[in-house]
């Protein structure tokens, strides 16, 4: 096994640790200051009357933007750091030879911590099938990995706290285990495109040996990449959320998005499908809707649909799955999400 050089930064390890410590200190200071700073700006500098609708919306916006961007950056740094300890190759090795059942649970759990991008869904699928991992176990991974992604998790934590974020993770894992198990039981191997079964692998990549310095640098790289990509959606969504917060009357949405409206759950799932990959832009709006009477089950179903059911991913997976299996895959997840929505509307 050879070690891979990581010359990305010629930064000595000691410097990296120092920079991380300084970054963490600045993060903490900013986190203590954003709220008084927002109040001071809106009511002190701009002299808006505290009871005005516009003032209320504006202070909500000015305080929420730094808060959520700070929490998003911090969470993504930590999640990315954890993920440097996992790789799809390692996950595949861990799942090889597992049976259905326990294998589904392990696959769903690993789906949460393994770095995954939906553009890699096909090579990953082929690699798993080649390694002899059962189809149902592979699907458990392919459901958990995109559904419980770092952006959704960080946004949920930032806006709703760890309880709802934890609930989301548990629900996502449960759906992945159950749906994967059902697909496994349907014995649909013949609906996988033939070429997948005929691939012979040759050279592999030598396992990387990362130092803590490398891990910290990679975590920082993903913060830059992800936050650089999503921050604009977050800001716009918080602005919309702030407007809803200030202008929409309390309980205005109970009738259409509340618990009693039985049709709201499937409708939320259908609306969520085309909004793929925009968890960052959806979650602040969902938070404002919940504030105005939308129920948590409906909101949760909507968020899972946004991240878990995606048309682009369906199109990508069509390369390896025949239409019948693709439809079963999506239908099973959609039904599981709808049932989850009803369950939470019922118990909460």
């Amino acid at each position: 096994m050879t070690t891979m050089p990581l010359p990305s930064a010629n930064l000595p390890a000691r410097w990296t640790y120092g920079l991380v410590a300084i970054g963490a200190a600045l993060w903490l200071i900013a986190y203590r200051l954003y709220e008084p700073a927002a109040d001071w700006l809106v009511f002190g500098v701009l002299h808006l009357p505290p009871e005005s609708r516009f003032g209320e919306s504006l202070v909500f916006f000015v305080a929420d933007v730094p808060k959520i961007l700070l929490l998003l950056s911090g969470m993504i740094f930590l999640i990315s750091l954890v993920r440097t300890f996992f790789s799809p190759e390692r996950t595949r090795a861990l799942l090889g030879g597992r049976r259905e059942g326990l294998g589904n649970v392990l696959a769903a759990g690993l789906g949460v911590v393994t770095p995954f991008c939906s553009c890699s869904a096909v090579p990953l699928f082929i690699g798993f099938v080649e390694a002899g991992i059962p189809l149902g176990v592979t699907f458990s991974f392919l459901i958990a990995a995109p559904t419980i992604n770092e952006v959704a998790l960080a946004m949920l934590f930032a806006l709703f706290g760890w309880r709802v974020a934890g609930l989301y993770v548990l629900t996502g894992i449960t759906i992945a285990v159950v749906a994967g198990n059902i697909i496994g039981r349907l014995k649909m191997e013949r609906f996988v495109e033939e070429f997948v079964w005929n691939i012979r692998e040759t050279a592999g990549m030598a396992a990387e040996r990362l130092t803590w310095r490398d891990r910290l640098l990679r975590a920082w790289e993903s913060v830059k990449e992800i936050v650089g990509r999503v921050w604009i959606y977050v800001v716009v969504a918080i602005a919309i959320g702030a407007a809803i917060h200030g202008y929409v009357p309390q309980d205005a949405l109970v009738g259409i998005m509340g618990k009693r409206a039985w049709w709201s759950v499937p409708l939320a799932v259908v609306i969520g499908i085309p909004l793929y990959s925009n968890a960052a832009g959806m979650i602040p709006i969902v938070a404002a809707l919940i504030d105005k009477g939308a129920s948590l089950g409906t909101a949760l179903a909507f968020m899972m649909s946004v991240v878990g059911l995606s048309l682009p991913e369906a199109i990508i997976l069509r390369r390896v799955l025949k239409p019948r299996l693709l439809i079963v895959f999506f239908a099973v997840i959609a039904i599981a999400i709808v049932l989850t929505g009803y369950l939470f509307n019922w118990i909460m």
Binding site: P5, P7, S87, P115, C119, S120, L124, E201, G204, I316
Partner: protein, 83 residues
């Protein structure tokens, strides 16, 4: 002469990797043939589970992320000196 392959379906990350690789090649002013491999069956033969992947002289040097230009330069230099 290096043979470089970029493995990936043509997603934005793969294009970025291709761009950085071309720059690294130009900067080192070496002779290299860069090929984009988009066929999933071919990608799978390299044992790559997450794209984009970078292959130098038939050896996978990076997968599942976009290495920095400096890293790519080192990959290429290592491959040149290893011949």
């Amino acid at each position: 002469m290096l043979t470089i392959k970029i493995l990936g379906s043509g997603c934005p990350n793969c294009q970025k990797l291709a761009y950085l690789t071309e720059r690294a090649v130009a900067q080192l002013s070496i002779e290299a043939e860069i090929e984009k491999v988009t066929d999933y069956a071919k990608i799978a033969e390299y044992h790559v589970l997450s794209t984009p992947g970078l292959v130098v002289n038939e050896k996978v040097v990076s997968a599942g992320r976009i290495p920095s230009e400096a890293e790519i330069t080192t990959f290429l230099a290592t491959a040149l000196s290893g011949d």
